[in-house]
């Protein structure tokens, strides 16, 4: 285990992404990569540089092979492309009954975070738990 973990954050709300980044970086032991650019994401993941990913479900700025891709699809793609185990946390405002099970099953993600996420510690705990199950 390296001293700092690189957490990929794919989130189309700039302020939400900023909050994730600050929460993780201030807690210590994390550096964050905030991007919606799919080729950059794949490059980093395929090079095994990313230790964990937080993906928003509704992604508006992200396209893959000429069409929009959402967090569920992106999760499947990253799981397939990552040379090593990549824990994924799905963060979404889809918080209706049944969404959690449905989205986790469809995406293959490891855990699920309901928005609004405004407790920094809660977020950090979730990410740490995902990493420690390595």
């Amino acid at each position: 285990m390296s001293s700092t973990h690189l957490v990929l954050i794919v989130e189309d709300h700039a302020l939400v992404a900023k909050f994730y980044r600050m929460a993780l970086e201030r807690a210590g032991g994390f550096t964050c990569l905030v991007t919606e650019n799919i080729s950059e994401i794949l490059e980093q993941v395929e090079a095994s540089k990313v230790d964990a990913a937080i993906l928003d479900v509704s992604l508006t700025g992200t396209e893959w092979q000429g069409r929009p891709i959402d967090g569920v699809e992106l999760s499947q793609l990253l799981k397939k492309r990552s040379p090593r185990r990549l824990p994924i946390l799905l963060a979404t405002a889809h918080a209706m009954a049944g969404d959690r099970e449905r989205l986790l099953a469809a995406s293959g993600a490891d855990d699920y975070l309901e928005k609004p996420v405004y407790d920094a510690q809660h977020l950090v705990d979730k990410v740490r738990r995902l990493l420690s199950s390595d």
Partner: protein, 426 residues
């Protein structure tokens, strides 16, 4: 299936012999029929609905009496077939439509029956013959009563069916309204949560002392402030829309110089436009603008909404403001044209509806409540204008225009929106 009239004839024992007897009675009874009609209609004014039913005066009564005489001639025709039944049904339907209750009509028919028995007594003094006639008459009157009750039942059933259909329709409308309300709530809750996420999250980071220095605290506080303003905007939009839909939006209509409103509004978006390196062009300066009749605050709100939409959805290029007095006589037309992402033709009506965007997620990313255009359209309509969308220049981008009535004088009056006007477009 055997018809109702055949079935009842058999049940009542009304046979060909009776029919023949009634046929023979016909000419002898004919002179009593006007008296019978009088007897029947003497009771109608006592009907609880009489005032509502008998609005046609003496002419109507005369027509009704004529109908009743024809009905009585039918009794003595001896032909009790489908056509006879249908005619009888028709009378029943008319009574139901007119609102004559069955029970009162039955009792009036009872009166007619008594009257006809009295007539028999005069016409057939020999008791043996009278008895035979009375038996046949009784059978045909029973058949008639059955037909009448059946027709009442059918007419009532039909009324119920149509009432049911109306109720079902109303129910579907309510269902739809409730669904729309649910979607509105779900969407609103989502829209409110996003800025709250930043407000609560960043405040907590600051309170927990996780900021590096005062500058960073300041930066986060600015984010909190911006998010809170965004939240306020959403809350205001929701309140505005609620007010408009409840017909409680008060407008202060006066004669305004559009130049003043344009000049005070454009600077509010020029910062955002500059940040995105967009060219914000004000072509309205090319002509002297006449006074318009409008509410100043709402005029500015409309303009600001359209301008900031254009700035928001234009990644590069320009946003141009134009005025036009020729295309809508009596109105000032103001256009906002951009070189942005555009709105596909099939979505142009939809974007004026609540929370309907070309791409909901995109609007979310761009901020905004998703209510702006819905509110803008209603405000334009409340001020007597129109609003519409067209292609922007070169088939890219969007051109949105609205009109405001030109001022004839300079009087000031207040208009309170009526619910009917504001909901007509929904």
């Amino acid at each position: 299936m055997e018809s109702f009239v055949q079935e009842m004839k058999r049940y009542l024992g009304l046979n060909e012999e009776d029919a023949e007897l009634l046929r023979q009675m016909g000419p002898r009874m004919d002179k009593y029929l006007p008296g019978m009609a009088d007897r029947f209609y003497a009771q109608i004014p006592l009907h609880p609905n009489a005032a509502r039913v008998l609005t046609g005066g003496p002419a109507q009564i005369e027509r009704l009496k004529q109908t009743l005489r024809e009905w009585a001639r039918g009794l003595f025709s001896g032909v009790y077939d489908e056509a006879y039944a249908e005619q009888r049904y028709h009378v029943g339907y008319r009574h139901v439509r007119a609102g004559l209750d069955q029970k009162y009509v039955i009792s009036a028919m009872g009166n007619v029956r008594t009257y006809l028995s009295e007539c028999l007594l005069l016409e057939y003094p020999a008791s043996d013959e009278r008895l035979r006639c009375a038996r046949s008459l009784s059978k045909i009157l029973d058949l008639d009563l059955n037909l009448m009750c059946e027709s009442y039942m059918h007419a009532t059933l039909q009324n119920l069916r149509s009432l049911n259909a109306q109720l079902e329709f109303a129910n579907r409308e309510l269902d739809q309204a409730s669904k729309t309300k649910d979607e509105f709530l779900a969407h609103t809750s989502h829209e409110l949560r996003t800025p709250l996420n930043s407000i609560l999250g960043f405040t907590k980071l600051i309170l927990d002392g996780l900021c590096k220095d005062r500058d960073e605290e300041q930066e986060l506080l600015r984010d909190v402030y911006a998010s809170a303003q965004h939240l306020l905007g959403i809350v205001n939009d929701i309140l505005d829309l609620g007010r408009i839909e409840a017909g409680k939006m008060s407008l202060h209509i006066e004669s305004l110089n559009p130049r003043d409103v344009l000049d005070s509004t454009i600077p509010l978006v020029s910062v955002q436009a500059t940040e995105k390196a967009l060219n914000l062009v004000d072509d309205t300066r090319r002509q002297k603008l006449p006074l318009v009749r409008a509410d100043e605050v709402r005029f500015r709100q409309i303009l600001l909404n359209l301008l900031s939409n254009s700035v928001k959805f234009t990644p590069q290029g320009s946003v141009t403001l134009r005025s036009d007095l020729a295309s809508h006589p009596g109105f000032l037309r103001i256009e906002v044209e951009d070189t942005g992402i555009g709105i596909p033709e099939e979505k142009r009506e939809a974007v004026f509806q609540k929370f309907v965007q070309v791409n909901v997620a995109q609007v979310r990313r761009q901020g905004g409540s998703g209510l702006g255009l819905a509110i803008t359209r209603k405000l334009v309509q409340l001020m007597g204008g129109e609003i519409g969308l067209d292609n922007g220049a070169g088939d890219r981008g969007t051109l949105v225009w609205f009109t405001l009535p030109l001022a004839a004088g300079s009087a000031t009056d207040d208009v309170r929106a009526k619910p009917a006007e504001t909901t007509a477009s929904r």
